[in-house]
Amino acid sequence: MFHTKCPIVDSKRTIPRKIVDLAIEYINQNKMKKMNLIWIEACGCAGNIISLLNGEDPDVIYFLNKMVNMTYNNSLMAQEGEKAFEKFLETLDTEFILVVEGAVSTKDNGLYNVIARYKGRLITGMKAVDMAGKKANYVLAVGSCASYGGPSAARPNPSLSKSVYDFLDREVIRVPGCPSHPQWIIGTIAHIISFGKPTLDQENRPILFYGITIHDRCPRRSYFDKEIFATKLGEKECMFKLGCRGPVTKTECPIRRWNDSINWPIGDNTPCIGCARNGFPDAMEPFIRY
């Protein structure tokens, strides 16, 4: 197992590329069957599937070709209407991974988020998450809305949105972030299909990706230690006094970074707003403290 060592030492060198490679090798050697995967976009912005399309090495085609058999997703699937939803229903009687992005909207029995109509009946996001959640081998709450409620449940929570974690009475792996990073999603799934469930922390996040605070590995840490602080956005020093949430947010953003590892919010001279953390956005405000 890769996560037995200190995640700092282990991080980018080994994860998730190495895990992904092994999973694919197993699949190619027929030691493992490609597992079905349902990706429900529930009450959210569909930003996590867009983030998945940003995946590089493995990219989304590699992911769909070699790692999983995605049977249902609103943004990508060729089919539409009832035929599309039938793919969802067919998958329920198989071994499958359920990915949910977006929160579960519970107001008026879920009618504020309808994802399909089947045999004349409206299928709410709530109903679909319940149906698939009961049967899935693994459930991943991808993004901060699915993991913690996130922006969809921001006060006063007009759609009475709940996290998938709170809504389902079963184990849910949280892969938060707003959006989640493509390599956190693919890496977690790679771990599941080759080694089973990854080691999770107390909040059920894979410690591979969520083990250490941003602050602990921040390239601006030396400024903090010397108490040299930025006074406005665009400056190069520590942004702690501008409200940076790096000290309370556990992700590997400083190392993984975003979009082909090219940059990240702190690299763009703006504070971390704690988008991967429980309580985002309400408890993270103000995002910019002037």
């Binding site: 959210g44 912005c45 569909a46 699937m77 909207s105 109509r117 690299g267 001279n269 988008c275």
Partner: protein, 469 residues
Amino acid sequence: MGDKIIINPLTRISGFLEIEVNIENHVVVDAKSSGMLFRGFEKMLEGRPPLDAIYFTERICGICSTAHSIASALALENALKVVPNENDSMIRDMIHGCEFLQNHLRHFYQYTFPDYVKGPQINPLYQESYGDYRLPKEINEKLSKHYIESIKYSRKAHKMLAILGGKAPHNHGVFVGGVTVNMDASIFIELKSILASIKDFIKNIMIEDVYIISKYYSDYFHNGKGYGNFMSYGVFDNYYNAPFIYVKPAILINNQRYPFDENKISENIYNAWYKGDKVDILPEEGYVEPDIHKENAYSFIKAPRYNGYPMEVGPLARVWISGDYTRGVSTMDRTIARALEAEKICNTIENLLIKIRLDPTKQEKYPIPDQAYGIGLKGTTRGALGHWLFIENKKIKRYTIITPTTWNVSPTDSNGIKGVVEKALMGTYIQDIKNPVEIGRIVRSFDPCVSCATHITSDKYDHVRIRVV
């Protein structure tokens, strides 16, 4: 007795849309479009710190979050009386341009292609059971490879966005006063290099692909027309965009050009699930409570109207207003316009890269006034996006957002005037009622984003034969 066809989910869009049409003798005689998602962002924004609106409103939409950051920053700058300097404005235009490229590539290849091209044999991108695929085998194979290849380029467009904006989706770099990135030579050359590869793909592959599709599906030049009334809030139209100034704010009604006047915008809630003591609501009047039990209503998308007219917004509207394209108004023209616009945006960014200086950002600390009002209007990937902001006691008092998809996918208003997509579906000839491919193709040509338009529907069907597909 006619047939009623309901498509839900209308996949390959952002968010959830139900389309319902009544058909008599193969012709659509009535059409309804219903948004299926409501989150209430306008309500959530009340009481929040004004500067947080930029990052907060981005979360409305995963595919066009940058659009919201730009409209929100503009509304705040209007309220706070901040004017970004020229260099920072140019960089912000580049960030916005990167989103256009990402969005147009993904809409064309990932969302539109599967309607016309048999996809790569990868689940769930591919389906066997669909009828009307017309491309010869070799051509289909070539285009199917482009589906896969395109993913690299839309990813690179987001990479450019992240170089300037920190990350994508949901960037951090667009802020009041401009941007937060400090330009340097390595950023400059990296952008130039990535842009060259994206431009090469769009110019030599995407444009050809769209014309190949239009050749084999030429009947789609004859449906999906809508009203042909167009609106633009203006985009890439600053003096520094010369000689590639794109499109100014303007209105085109019955081919007559009018100056744009923001005071002519109102939202009609007659058929939308909202409570109100009147049917026409002005943007500055703010949030209205949803009411799922309202009779006759069938969508939580409100019906914005300009001087009473439903207006089409988006790439086709822009190229008509700018005069770049006047071939026609149809499903296929809309799809071609989007591809042509993608090429145009490459030139826009290229031009900005020539003009940009390697200056540090001019960010300031922005004091929040006790009271202020600001409007941010901008042409974005899907069309005209507006943010209206009221500040009171240094907090957001009211916030109104009218998105492009609200314009395009609105319900019928209290005067009986249909929304643009509804109108575009009317009169459509449906070849095979069991397999009504025409509907999805027409609706997708508008690139609807229901995540942005935030709505809901009900469950009342008690007449005619219902055929759910």
